[in-house]
Subunit: 352 residues, 3 copies
């Protein structure tokens, strides 16, 4: 999985705009976590929880913030964002595997599909009629591009991904295994008569699609429903974790972060740069403003303003909920105190 390349610490520091403090000549062959890094590895330190590991690390160099306190004799690279710098250096050692151009004879590509000559269609992948697959895109085994769907350039569709008919995927999109784009939205109209056959939930045709813009990543077994009409949209550069549910007609803006097991109900609009932490639920037809942050397990029942930080189920401003949580710990005591107050007040009342 590694490129086999070797770089000096100084070279790597230059690559990320950092400053070497110590020995810049050491040869680095890999990146590693603090505790596993040997003298051939570069590591990073940004979470204060891992200070002891930092101090004990045998790494050739550690990426640290400009103001970080460093034990004497250690080589570090001071850089504004050590984690970002580490990511870039890691990419040097682990460049993405390029597509091996060609359609496997064990793949199934409909004669009416258009697959770029530089794309890789692996065995057991499927491309339907009228579908298109762009340059340097890789379809792993079990990946499915339905009829009329379009997948752009430099994408990776991992095993058992489903992109249903008519959906549109931009460039440099990564779809993790088992994720589903374009499943029918959950739309039913209750029909008490059922045209004489008794009550039923009448299926509302879900005839829109899903549009995934450029540079999006979508996690394993995440589901994005097609719109009833129009499009469900995942905006440019947004990253979605595993097992997330995006309902029909949801619009997610660019550069948002949606963590695992979040559920977003139908027609809700999520702005730009929003962060939805794990297991958050959002009801339908809401607007979540740009840059809003919703803490884990929160339940959002109303619009959220841009930049707001929300917590709790139901979600309230973060500070309000923290106060409630702190008070909750004292609630049983409060019940006793009020009982005592009533008793003493009754005595006072009798006395007076």
């Amino acid at each position: 999985l590694t490129s086999g390349a070797t770089f000096t610490v100084a070279h790597l520091a230059a690559r990320v705009g950092g400053e070497v403090v110590g020995d810049g000549t050491a040869a680095v062959r890999r990146v590693a976590p603090l505790e596993d890094a040997g003298p051939d590895a570069v590591s990073f330190f940004s979470n204060k929880k891992y200070r002891a590991a930092f101090e004990a690390s045998r790494a050739a160099a550690v990426l640290v913030e400009p103001g970080e306190e460093v034990p004497a004799g250690r080589t570090v690279v001071r850089v504004a964002n050590p984690y970002l710098a580490f990511a870039k250096i890691s990419t040097l050692f682990h460049p993405p595997r390029p597509a091996a151009a060609g359609i496997s004879p064990q793949a199934v590509v409909h004669p009416g599909a258009e697959v770029d000559a530089t794309a890789e269609v692996m065995p057991l992948a499927y491309v339907g009629p009228g579908a298109s697959v762009g340059p340097r895109t890789t379809l792993h085994p079990g990946a499915h591009v339905g009829a009329g769907a379009r997948v752009g350039a430099d994408c990776i569709l991992y095993p058992n991904v489903t992109v249903r008919d008519g959906c549109v995927v931009g460039d440099r999109v990564i779809l993790q295994p088992g994720c589903v784009l374009g499943s029918d939205g959950f739309g039913f109209a209750f029909d008490p008569e059922g045209e004489g056959r008794g009550p039923r939930h009448y299926k509302v045709p879900q005839v829109g699609n899903v549009i995934v813009e450029d540079d999006v990543e979508i996690g394993a077994c995440t589901t994005v429903d097609r719109a009833a009409l129009g499009s469900t949209v995942i905006g440019r550069g947004t990253k979605i974790d595993n097992l997330v549910q995006i309902a029909h007609n949801v619009q997610v803006g660019p550069l948002s972060i949606i963590v695992s097991q979040v559920g977003i109900s139908g027609s809700t609009k999520v702005g730009m740069g929003v962060v939805l932490a794990g297991q958050v639920g959002i009801t339908g037809h809401l607007t979540i403003g740009d840059g809003a942050k919703i803490a884990a397990q929160s339940g959002v029942l109303a619009d959220v303003e841009a930049g707001a930080v929300m917590l709790g189920s139901p979600a309230r401003p973060h500070a309000d909920t923290l106060r409630i949580y702190a008070s909750l710990a004292r609630l049983p005591e409060l019940v006793r105190k009020v009982r005592e107050l009533e008793r003493r007040l009754a005595e006072l009342g009798e006395d007076s």
Copy 2:
């Protein structure tokens, strides 16, 4: 995706038992949301949030409730249930794609399977020994019908659906991509000795199956476990959204609605016409009565009576939880007030 058909407003109104107010002669070629509808489209208005879009809409006609206030000069179709009427009209324009009879040479159908001559088995679909697939049913690529499983008539199994061995699927059932029927139930008996090899969780054989009755729809990446013994049952006409977990031996009655990311634990019985909103959790061995409604993110720890409306974790009657939520906002203030009361009472006590 459209039928290419054209209908007059009057024809469509008659189809759904509505009354035209305005021009019934306009030619309609499609359905559209209020904001996208041009003079060739019919739309509907039922969620009051979208009143402005209704008033600005250029639709040939809008489906509205009988008593709805309508701007002068607009054509509407008055009908008891505009959303249901819209769904029926949408189906006229978007009829389901019929199965293209035949087994693809790139599908795998065991010689011991029975596939109706009118069924469509697409490339890379699999039908195991002793399995059967009914008339006009479509198996998409990656769909799996395990050994001895039976799938009825007019079903759609979307890509990468798994119906494991021995499961039974009725007629007109729709299985969205990646959903799983018949995975093993989560049953283990703790074995402290492990027959001399130390503690282990001993696997309880899960030898029942899943029965899905007619007219059910099951969402993408939803999982329905097979029974330990007997059957896990999804009742007629029930609709299940994406990423839902139905544990072994659960019984869901007919016409229920189970929204995304709900989890139902083992052996629980869910009645008829129940609504479980998103991310609800229900513990095992409970009974949820007919027509009960459980609000989003609730956690149900006890039986729920028919018709009850529950909210919260732990779930309580909806009105009770709303009162608690309202009080919670005032809890930090309450803590301060009680402290103040104690202080003043102490002063009074000293005075008296």
Copy 3:
């Protein structure tokens, strides 16, 4: 699905170290739940909720605890752990289906893969270059073993399972349909400049793997992300239910139980014999001690000590949260009482 075998009650009792009270000579052909068991079946009784069903059961024998009260004339097998004994007896009647050695001509096995001669590779399964599959392991249709991945002996990979490149699966591991091992961890570093192209979330290469130790079972559509560096580890004998999210670099100890829809964030360590109930969420970089139990829907934000029992979101010690829940029911009343106290105190103040 049954072995067709017949055993006497006495034989079965001996097999599980139990004591027959009543007729040990009856021939047993199957296991069944209490209400379905006829005179050819053995059943078990351990959940007190089902006492009526026990008393009405027609089973040849029922497995019960040593001290259980039994109606006159009934045959029972007294045994320390009736559920475990039942599971062992059920396995006698339902032995696991052995692998049918051989690679289907409709499977895709890379010439550079090593598949043991006794393994079964079913049609439409895929084994990539450098991957290995051990003795008596079964790969169902749609199962995917990526490049360089290793799967041990006696495993079952059900349909549409994905084991991505480089992951390692031990012996006797069961992977339910649609589960995913080795999807990329959710790691991005925010890059405000994007090297001149504007802000982006820079992908941190996820170049570690997943290690699943022996005797693990992983549920349908559960996702286990590969480590950023190093390994995400699922310990020996741990059992994971459906739709669970295990993030990158999580370490789960042996013999733990993780129920459906749990989410565990990155780098968290879960100890041995831990129980995480349904829909629990755990934030990243925490330590959950051996034997801890976390109740359903809890949200864990801090380390948990060994043996602790936690409840609530945020999670607190179980007893504390129960007290809070009990007090919550009285919170609206408390608000009124404090208002009344303030009023009466004000009156007293005026009087004095």
